[in-house]
Amino acid sequence: MELEKVLQHHFGYTSFRPGQKEVIEQIVKGKDVIALLPTGMGKSLCYQLPGYIFNKPVLIISPLLSLMQDQVDQIKQLKEKRVVALNSFLNATQKKVTIQHLHQYRFIFISPEMLLQPQVQQKLNSMELSLIVVDEAHCISQWGFDFRPDYLRIGEVMDKANRPPILALSATATQKVLGDIESYLKMNEPFTFIHTVDRPNIHMGRVLFQNREEKLDWILEHVLETAGPGIIYTQSRSKTESISERLLQMGISTAAYHGGKDTLDRQFIQQQFIDGSLEWIVATNAFGMGVHKQNVRQIIHESIPSNVANYMQEIGRAGRDGKDALAILLFADGDDEFAKFVGIDDFPNEVHVDLYLEYRRRNESPSTMIQNGEISETAYRVLDYWMHQIHPNEVKHQLLTMKTDKIRAVEEVVNLIRTKSCMREKLVHYFGQNLMEKPSDCCECCGLDYHNIIQKRESFEQDETAVSWKKRLETILLGFS
């Protein structure tokens, strides 16, 4: 069978992008595959094309509801009608009907929590699948970006003798995360395709400070002089507000973004950032996944990320158009201590294990701990998972190990910052790869002149004349017909 023909017929391309063909060939042979491909490199084609070779449904497990809807929409735009998303957006009747007809679809997107529901499992057991795709597979690992305990249960569900091949997809994963993916998903000697994690067009800067307060002045000056669009990552919600407030006062169109913003606000910010009316976003790490913007020119880290994988993921949002972009990390003494504190602050400890047991003993649901303010929701999810997996004493041990690992993860970031050799080399090594070639203006250590990478900021006059509400409404309703 000629894969190129299928590609041309269904997708209109004449050739594959790097990695796609290798991955698809293995899947067609029935092998499990782990593929690490950077965002924007056509990951989804790796499972869409096999969907037209096999005449059985492809099941895609995806952690982000917004992402899922995007993917469904994209497939629909290719004139494929047999695609469905099974997630909590469906009401009871819709859900029932969808499950009933599940075998008739070519592509079935599903959220992890939906996958675990008995009626879904029953249906899946009664039908044949051609391929199981685990998207954003790094979420399965505590060491990957954005850990989701729900994901750990996928392995339990998929553990059947005659299961179809599994394709695990991700953009970034370290050796440790790769190991987790393979073992938690119970993959069978998977073929692994790893595209280089290096992004030569992202140039890595670093600025050291005596104390933290100096950072703000540096940011204000830098943002006023250099061109965006850009993202400033910081640790706390209140900091996103205060920094963005200062930038606004200087006439720079900016928005604060964090998990506490209302849903409309979040969508408005994403839309404005994509259409170019916002120059800068000041965000916690809640901002990013599922935001497709090609021309982000700068990423500034006001506080250090909690591990190298997060750092990679966050700077990776710059320069998707392939043009030069700049990522600058700001570091002051004491930042690492603070990051460690934040990292373990929201993590369950021995006391929580005892409390959990106490609730169980009293025949109360341990989740009451959340309502009683004894534990955060995130910490509870981690605790609850392990309490179901291993003996309580082992849980204590496990949590302690994980805590030590978290502290080590922060130290790895600090090593990257403190390095006197090449930051890029260090970063690539961290993912178990070797750097082949250094671009010019590689990083702060190799020599980097910001002016070669980014433009001066043109202070464009913002259109201050606010449109009247009547005019605005008229444009929205009648302006595009």
Binding site: S66, D73, S244, A255, Q267, F268, L477, L478, F480
Partner: protein
């Protein structure tokens, strides 16, 4: 500013007869007997439940700034009083219309429907029927889909009709222009993002809290305007359906109301429902407050009603204990009934 004015106005109505926390519970819309009765006794229907997400730290912070600015004096034992400058300040805030008691946060459902309809029609006009819906709630999406089908959006006239209705109804609402802007700025459409609270607050030079209060107040006036002229605003009137709470009774009071209507006496209801007589009396007070047709004269004579009202005026208080001393022949229950009814 507006938030502070509202707070002071509530304190003013409470007439120093409630704790410093009472306004917090009122704004959040706490469903407790005490808060609900206070709404009637102190005429605070406007503000009930207008800020369901208000946090205690935020409330305390505002309270402290009122004290610092000498609007409010709090005494050691927990009582408080308003200063003269507070009384001046309060008058400014009175121009904002609220009807929290009847809308109870449902104004957000109205706006969610509107915003998804506007987004859909905008995309439809642009020939793009696939877009990411801005409202994620199932019920809202389902409702809007039905609305669009029933009103035959495919014919392409809906955009214009809706525009005319929105402009017409907003123009006849007694609301300042900037308030209308705030609401319309929260709408989005094809290639048009809405403005965030932060952006509006920056643009209008108001705190985010005040922007949101103006937004809620505008929705309340607007929906009232629409509901008062259903024949003029055929489309918007559909959006306003079920937004107003008809008889806002708590579940338990509702059951009592049913039994009472069937002719059972308070003691009998207490027996049937296995609840204390005093609880059933609470329910009756709640019913009296909510149902204008419910006659309180089955419990207290016209003459006695007058006596209570005179006592309220003479002693400038709504405190039960004091009133009871003035009219000792009446029960607390009877006095509360009169207070609940007001005028």
């Amino acid at each position: 500013m507006i938030f502070e004015q509202i707070l002071l106005q509530i304190f003013h109505n409470f007439n120093q007869e409630r704790t410093i926390s009472a306004p917090f519970h009122l704004l959040k819309g706490k469903r407790s007997g005490q808060t609900i009765q206070d709404v009637g006794i102190y005429h605070l229907h406007k503000f009930f439940s207008i800020l369901p997400k208000l946090s205690r730290p935020h409330y305390d912070e505002k309270l402290n700034s009122l004290i610092e600015e000498h609007y409010l004096i709090v005494h050691d034992e927990g009582s408080y009083e308003l200063t003269d400058s507070a009384r001046e300040f309060v008058k400014d805030g009175e121009k904002y219309y609220f009807n929290g008691w009847y809308y109870r946060g449902n104004e957000h459902i109205f706006f969610a429907r509107l915003s998804l309809i506007v987004q859909s029609l905008s995309h439809h006009g642009a020939g793009r029927m696939s877009f990411t819906p801005i409202q994620k709630d199932d019920h809202i999406q389902h409702w809007v889909r039905q609305f669009l089908l029933i009103n035959q959006y495919k014919e392409g006239n809906l955009q214009k009709t809706l525009l005319d209705e929105i402009v017409g109804s907003l123009e006849s609402s007694k609301v300042e222009e900037r308030a209308k802007s705030i609401v319309i700025n929260r709408l989005a459409g094809f290639q048009t993002a809405g403005l965030t609270w932060q952006q509006i607050s920056y643009q209008e030079n108001l705190s985010e809290m005040d922007v949101q209060l103006i937004y809620i107040s505008t929705l309340h006036s607007w929906i009232t305007q629409i509901s008062n002229h259903p024949e003029q605003y055929l489309l918007l009137n559909q959006l306003a359906k079920d937004i107003r709470v008809v008889i806002p009774l708590s579940g338990s009071a509702h059951q009592t109301a049913e039994l009472f209507r069937k002719g059972y006496l308070i003691e009998e209801i207490s027996h049937i429902r296995r609840l204390k007589v005093s609880t059933i009396e609470d329910h009756i007070v709640e019913i009296a407050m909510n149902d204008p047709d419910f006659s309180i004269e089955q419990f207290i004579s016209k003459e006695d009603i007058k006596k209570v009202m005179t006592a309220v005026d003479d002693y400038n208080t709504r405190k039960l204990k004091i009133l009871h001393e003035v009219v000792p022949h009446l029960s607390y229950f009877q006095i509360r009934l009169v207070l609940a009814r007001g005028e």
